[in-house]
């Protein structure tokens, strides 16, 4: 009867809880057991960000945190300065950039959402961390 009441009030079956807990713990186990993969990921992350910013490579840190309901990647990548002209991407699939002009990070990240070509923004932002700030329209 108690079981029925529990089910009625939507408490998940304990096997479902077990399954979800296992999924998370194994994800986190696998990440901590594959340091080479994490190292490769960190290298690639730094490489991509370095195209736009000068990065303090020695102090970069990528960690994974097992939280209540998810495993999160925490990347701490100190930025020394913004590049005035993004370095050319390595050979491979072309970037989705529309304009050949130098585009600051903020504009570049938003460019994919823009409906049309955006005028080049040359003004350098002081707030380096605030790369997600939407440009005024």
């Amino acid at each position: 009867m108690f079981e029925f009441i529990q089910r009625f009030f939507g408490k998940p079956a304990s096997s479902a809880t077990a399954k979800e807990r296992l999924r998370l713990v194994l994800l986190s186990d696998h990440l901590s057991l594959a340091p080479d993969v994490v190292e490769a990921l960190k290298h690639d992350l730094v490489e991509v960000i370095s195209r736009y910013c000068e990065v303090d490579v020695a102090n970069c840190d990528v960690t994974f945190e097992h939280r209540e309901k998810q495993v999160a990647m925490l990347a701490n990548i100190p930025i020394l300065s913004l590049r005035s002209r993004p370095a050319p991407p390595p050979p491979g699939p072309p970037p989705p950039a529309v304009e050949p002009d130098p585009v600051p990070v903020a504009a570049a990240t938003k460019a994919t959402h823009a409906e049309g070509p955006r005028p080049p923004r040359r003004k350098r932002r002081k707030n380096v961390a605030g790369t997600t700030t939407a440009p005024a329209t």
Binding site: S14, S15, A18, K19, R21, L22, R23, V25, L26, L33
Partner: protein
Amino acid sequence: MHELMHQEAAATSAVPRKRGRAIVVTSGKGGVGKTTTTANTGAALAATGASVVLVDADVGLRNLDIVLGLEARVRHHVLDVLEGHVTLDEALVTDKRVPTMRLLAAAQTREKDDVDTAAFCDLISGLRDRFDYVLIDCPAGIEKGFANAIAGADEAIIVCTPEVSAVRDADRVVGLLGDERSVKLIVNRLRPALVRRGKMLSVDDVNGILRLPLLGVIEDAPDVIVSTNRGEPVALDAASPVGESYRQIAQRIAGTLTGVPEIPRERSLFEKLFGGRK
């Protein structure tokens, strides 16, 4: 019997030697039923006529002998052989119920660190020349004992119960076994009634995570406990449903049975009342 001994004598001297399969039974976690699985799978394989040797790699915590009911007949152990005190044949115990099955017991008063991995590996290799199947009962843990037990094996059976701790450890062990070994799964101690009520991980839940070829599923049944109490492998009990599960596992290992393994279902009230075994 005579013919069998003759065959074996021929196998030790004759040139065309067998190349038997060395299979390690492992789990990472302790208490999930590795020894019971080794004993019953070995007995079921031997009952089909194949020659089988069971090797207890759990040095210091010898148990395969008692589960098989052979504890009173063990005179020498694996370290006696490795250290050259006795010959292999002196240490092997023949099972009287299934004469194609032999046991090589572990040393009880020694430690896992006393076993040299390369020497143990050579021993397994030598056994493969004489037997169709070499089943190695791996100790719990992932330390030296585990390293010794897996060294000579080119196949592995993971025993996993439907519990978060067992699944996590099994996942870890699969990673340690490496890609060069064939790894298969036995889900042990399933309780179908609990699975139906959502109170136990199902076989699909377990294998959704481990993603291994499934050899079989063993129900958590009193038969297993009773047979272990008596030292009579349940796999040799023709009337036992769990014994049948072990026999099917043996057939799957031998390749004579294919298709998806049967998952034990909950018995009806009628079956419980009239089909139960004491």
